[in-house]
Symmetry: C2
Subunit: 134 residues, 2 copies
DNA sequence: ATGTTCTCTATCAATTTAGTAGTCTTTAGA
DNA sequence: TCTAAAGACTACTAAATTGATAGAGAACAT
C-alpha cells in the first residue's frame, strides 16, 4: 500500500468536514484550510459522495456534510477506495487479489500476508472520529 | 510500500542463486526456472551486483553468485533498493522522507509511523536465508 | 578464433498520477 | 424572475513510473 495524494487529501477533507459537523462545508473552505487544489478536491469529494460517505447541497449556502457518523468511517475503507489493496503485493491481498510472480513462494508470500493482516486490523479499527483532536 | 515486479523478480533471483550456492548461476537458468524475462532480469542482477549483493564472472562458464552469506541480506534492504520507502507515505518514512499533505496531522501520521515500525522491524529481521525451504 | 556469457546504455508503450478546464445544474435570495 | 453562488460532470493533459525490449560491447574458456 502506498498512499496517493488523492487519498491523503481525502483524509484531510473528511477530517475537516467532521470537525465542522454542525454546518454544510464548502469546497472552497476546505480547499483554503487544507491547502488542496480546488478542482482536484471537487473530484475527491464527488468520489466520497458517490461511495456514500458524504451528502451535499448545491447552490447558494450549499456544501458537504458527513452522510454517517465519523465513527463509522474507517481509515481502511478510504484507502481501499482511493488506492486499492492494503497488502504490499497483489498476491497477498484479500480484497484486490491478483496473480504475481512471488505467489508460488510460500515463505515469502506469508511474510507479506502477515503484514497485510497487521495493517488491515489496525486500519479497520481506526475511524475518522479517532483522528480528530480534542 | 508497494512491491514492483522488478522487486519481486529480485527476490526470486536471489533465492534461486542462494539455492545454488555451490555454483555460478547463469542468467538464462534463473530466467527459465523463475520465469523472468531474460533482458529484464539482466538489469535486476546488475543492480544487485552494483549494490554489493552479488558477484559475477563473464564468458563461458560464467554466472552469478552471492557476494555475502544469504543470512546477511535482509528483505528490507532489497525492497528499499528497488522500491524505496517501506512506510505507506513519504512523511512517515525514515529512509526516504519527503513532505506530504498529511504531515501536519499528527494523529494520522502516527498511525502510518506505527505501520512503518512494524513493517521495518519485520523485514529487517527476515533474510534471504529465511526464505529458503529445507 | 569462436562462441558463450555478462555489461551497459538507450529506447519505448502503457499506465498511473496529479492535476486543469469548461460547461451544466441546482439553489437562495434580492 | 433574475442572478450569483455553489456543487456535478466530463474531458483533457503533462509528467512520472512501470515493465519491459534492443543492440552493441567486453571478458572468458576452450
Amino acid at each position: 500500500m502506498k498512499l496517493s495524494r488523492k487519498c491523503e487529501y481525502a483524509f484531510l477533507a473528511l477530517i475537516d468536514i467532521a470537525q465542522h459537523s454542525d454546518e454544510l462545508v464548502k469546497i472552497s473552505k476546505i480547499s483554503e484550510r487544507q491547502n488542496i487544489p480546488k478542482k482536484f478536491l471537487e473530484q475527491i469529494l464527488l468520489m466520497l459522495k458517490g461511495s456514500g460517505y458524504l451528502t451535499s447541497r448545491r447552490g447558494a449556502n450549499g456544501g458537504y456534510k458527513l452522510a454517517t457518523d465519523s465513527e463509522e468511517i474507517t481509515v481502511a475503507e478510504i484507502i481501499r477506495l482511493f488506492d486499492g489493496a492494503l497488502a504490499p503485493v497483489g498476491s497477498a491481498s484479500e480484497n484486490f487479489y491478483e496473480e504475481t510472480p512471488i505467489e508460488e513462494h510460500e515463505e515469502l508470500l506469508s511474510i507479506f500476508k502477515e503484514i497485510r493482516d497487521y495493517v488491515a486490523e489496525k486500519l479497520e479499527n481506526t475511524t475518522i472520529a479517532d483522528l480528530i483532536e480534542n
